[in-house]
Symmetry: C2
Subunit: 127 residues, 2 copies
DNA sequence: ACGCTAGTTCGAGATCTGTCAAACTACGAG
DNA sequence: CTCGTAGTTTGACAGATCTCGAACTAGCGT
């Protein structure tokens, strides 16, 4: 199970995989869940550094913890303790170096899918 | 069970989701499995149109069938009956239009991860 | 010390997933 | 019609995953 080594990326950062430990399958699996994909898209806002409960997730706290752990252990995000909270940031640089364009295309695709809230059916059957 | 509508993309094509039915999460989930990722990378060879057993997969026939179905129902590949075989092709155009750059970056990442097998001694020792 | 807020850990349950073996279907060749 | 090849379907099983509630830990303010 827990195979994530203690990386001294930051003093208060939780254990996360080193770049060479990040596996493509794990990243894809981490991104394949709706809740986690939502976390990642919200975290993709420029300069976003949010604590876990700052997200509007349709799950309980314990389930949130689970999803954040999956994302962290896959190498998608970093969690840093800060007071009573934990700040989350995307590991954009690491992912961009390992899998160039991957995160960007996923974010773009997810961003395209999200506007179902503002523009549900934009497509007219007749064109 | 089968929620995949019959799309008349080709006369002998197996039922597959229409482009607007392809969900990002399903694609990511389909690509998150090592066996399926391998299928996709082999299928990414230019002009590749392979039948199911043309792949060197470490699983039995029934498991192969399962994986091909997952990929097809996710919209990643297309299966066309041809004689006694089924030819598989990537739905590159559809995916590129829906999620630009996604498949490409996944393929590039997978190709970088895989060279331990096909190009192990390919790196020219001397110029 | 006390409580509040943020988050984890611990079962537990329901569902999904990957895998196999065996039996089955479908097409083509002889 | 019979045989072989290609693939599917079914049933089963082990393990992963998502989810929850309840109890627990850790820092901050008063």
């Amino acid at each position: 199970m827990g195979g994530v080594p203690e990386t001294e990326t930051a003093p208060d950062a939780l254990p996360e995989p080193r770049p060479d430990e990040i596996r493509l399958e794990s990243v894809l699996h981490a991104l394949a869940d709706p809740v986690r994909l939502r976390i990642v898209t919200e975290l993709a806002e420029p300069g976003a550094e949010l604590n876990c409960l700052a997200f509007d997730l349709p799950v309980t706290k314990s389930t949130s913890t689970h999803h954040f752990r999956v994302l962290r252990e896959a190498g998608v995000l970093r969690q840093v303790r800060r007071g009573t909270s934990k700040m989350n940031t995307l590991r954009r640089a690491d992912l961009a170096q390992l899998y160039p364009g991957l995160l960007e295309s996923v974010l773009a695709a997810a961003a395209d899918r999200r506007p179902h809230e503002r523009a549900a059916q934009d497509r007219s059957p007749q064109g």
